[in-house]
Structure formats: C-alpha cells, structure tokens
Subunit: 209 residues, 2 copies
DNA sequence: TTGATAAGTTATCAGTGATCGACAACGCCG
DNA sequence: CGGCGTTGTCGATCACTGATAACTTATCAA
C-alpha cells in the first residue's frame, strides 16, 4: 500500500518542481556570469520567486552550487562507467578515458569550477560547508581512474609501481588542461584539438611504458 | 551634544610607505583567509588606517591582489631566469625548470591563485579589470618556457615538432599539480615529494624523447 | 468551521566594496 | 606672523550582498 498522505500544494508554481526551477535558473546564471557574480536575488527573480524563498529549499547559496555540482558529477560518473564497460588495458582505451574526463570538464565548466577550482573559505573549504558531497562525487570518479590504471599496471603497461601516485599525477595533468582552458579562454592557445591531442599523448607516454 | 574629540589623524607612513603597509597587511590576510574572505575593512584595520583611505592608493580591492600577484611573478621570473643561466638541453635541466615552477606555486599560493585560478567576472575577467598586468607577468614566464622547450627541440630531444603545443601541454600539466595541491589540500594525496617526483618524471617522459 | 502546516511574502539585519564632502596637517607665498 | 591651496585622512553614507524573522496566504485533515 502506498498511502499518499501528503498532497503537493501548489499556490503559484508547482511546489515540488520549484526546487528544479531554482536549479535551472542558477545553472543558467552561473554559466553566464560565474558563481561569484550571481546574487541570490538574481536567481530568485529568474526562478519567479522572492529571494528569501530560496532558503526554503537550500540552506545557503553554496548549497545550490553544490547540488548542481553533484548532478554534473553523476554525468561524469556515467560517462566514466560507460568508458569502463569495454575497457581493455590498451593505450587506445587509456586515451579514451582521458578524453572523457577532458570533454566532461569542457561540457560542464561551471560544475567543474565548483568542484575543483573554487577558493577555500575562511572557516574551512566550500566542500566542507556543503557536507563534502561534491568532493565525494569527485572521489568516486577518481576511484574509477585508480581502477583503470590498476588494470593497466596489472598488464605491465604502467611506468612505475606506485599506482596511486601515477593516478594522482595523471589526474593533476588532466585537471591542469581543463582548468586552464576554463579559467583562461583568452590565452592564445594553439588549436584546441591539437592541444588536447598533444596533452593526451604526453600523459600517455609519460604514464605508460 | 558632546563635542567630539577631533579625529586622531595618523600621519604615520608617508606616501609610498603607506602603500607598502597596505600591501603587507593584505598579503598577510590573503594568506590566512583567502582573497575572497578578506574585506577591505580588515585590510585597513591591520594597516592602521580607515577603510576609505585604501582607495587613495588602490582603485579597487582587486588591484591590491593584482599588485601582490605582479610582485610574486617577478620572483618567479627571477627564479626562472636563474634556472636558465646554466641551462643546457638535458633532462636534468628540464626537470629543474619544472620544479622551479612547482615550488613557486607552493611558495606563493595566493599569488598563484590570483594569476591562474580566479573566476572570471561578469564584465570580463579579473585580469582585464586590473589592466592585464598579472596576465602579462604570467605570459613572460610562459615565454621563458617556450625558449627552454625550443632549445630542447633544437637538440632533438622533444617528442613532436609543435613546440608551442608541447609547451602549452607541459604548462597545463604543471598547473594542474600546483593548483590542485593549493585548492584541495585535504585530498588524501600520497607523499608530496613522491607525487611531485612522479609528476615531473611523467611530464619529462611524455614531452621528451 | 476549525487548527495545523506548508509556501511565499515583506521588512529587515549585518556586512561588503566603493564614494563623497568635510577636515587636519603641511608647504608656500605674502 | 597670517592666509591658502595641496595632500592625506576620516566619518558618513550608498547600493548591494547573503541570510533571517515575522507575517500572510493556501491547502488539507478533522
């Protein structure tokens, strides 16, 4: 039996959907102007509600960003899992995993910023204030990377035996490209595909035998 | 009305000295709490002046951060130039250049953040609002990297012929490590020296023949 | 009709970056 | 000595931020 003891009240908007409307508005504005440049009043106005009404759904502004971040990471996790389904310990599959990560960062720059590029706050990091959920999502993705590198190592393809260290170095290498492309689009980069190809090749030659 | 005791003016530091005092105070606070978490009033109090007095020396708060950034980059430029004096196209010298960059980032995390990790503003990036001076300083350092890679390429040691692309990929790889160590110190990193050594080795094997 | 409750509002708070006009000290000319 | 602009600083204040309190309205259970 599934008693529907609670009916949604929808005075104006659609009660339960209000949260989604807020997230939609926030995602749009964050993408346009950056997280720090968007105020709660702007989010509220685009969502069609008053500014204090936001706080019925989110404790803080950061929590809105964190929610968007977690959702984006769910997408990354999906893509990584997908790349892992037909993964074999080969250089080609290695490259594909790296490109999945890079492509995700370029597809979701705002989520990526929230997860890995936001400045730490005074009383602990943003991640701590939001219950560490974005960090957890990121760690899950990182764990997948560890698995991938572990399989390659088992196949004798990894240079060095410290799988954890190699994975962290690899991740750092990937993050550098993604975060710089996001944070400094005005830099006179070479052709983007050329840069990505060069970068992936460099990491592959550096990490594999 | 009780007549106020007239304002105790503080003619302490004159002209250029005040400016240095402000920069010192800002550097201290930025390092402790992060750029965004420090207010102009806090800077002013630590500098021993009123908050509006700041604006006699700096047009905006960002300009204070930019000034500190430029100064820090002068240090990086010095170190890079120093590493270039006795540079020979060898793997060892290559490694040394990479480590100079990494060490700089770890020594001046706040300057590094201002230069490469700050979020873009609505009306253009922070760098544009401050006249692009931090960006210029960064580009000068990047130019040195291009020279170094160019010499290695001339010696036939670089994998691939697109020196610019390789340099950008290298820089991205370095930036990734530095920025992640700065932004996510709470991540369960392996031993720092191990990680740096692994990373440098990975980049070397990936970029050189 | 009641009471309870969920959802949204207006009004307001303390704190932010930045600006304005007033005022104190100083150098300078008379 | 007295008057006067210049320079440096200040208190007061502005528009805006994130967040909270108190009140109003809509809906449901009884």
């Amino acid at each position: 039996m599934i008693p529907k003891t609670r009916s949604p009240r929808k005075p104006k908007g659609q009660g339960a959907e209000r949260r989604e409307e807020i997230l939609d508005a926030a995602l749009t504005l964050f993408g346009q102007k950056g997280v720090h440049a968007v105020s709660t009043r702007q989010i509220a106005e685009l969502a069609g509600i008053s500014q204090p009404a936001l706080y019925a759904y989110f404790a803080t502004k950061d929590e809105i960003a964190a929610e968007l971040c977690v959702r984006a990471f769910a997408i990354l996790g999906q893509r990584m899992a997908q790349a892992r389904v037909d993964f074999t310990p080969t250089a080609a599959c290695f490259d594909r995993c790296l490109r999945v990560y890079i492509q995700f960062g370029l597809d979701h720059p705002d989520a990526y910023r929230v997860a890995f590029m936001l400045e730490k706050a005074a009383d602990g990091s943003f991640l701590e204030k939001t219950g560490g959920r974005p960090m957890e999502a990121g760690k899950a993705v990182f764990a997948t990377f560890v698995e991938v590198v572990g399989e390659l190592h088992a196949a004798g393809l990894v240079a060095g035996d410290d799988v954890e260290a190699v994975t962290q170095a690899l991740w750092a290498g990937l993050h550098g490209l993604v975060s710089l492309l996001i944070a400094r689009p005005e830099f006179p980069w070479v052709d983007r595909e050329t840069l990505i190809a060069t970068h992936v090749a460099m990491l592959r030659r550096g990490a594999l035998k």
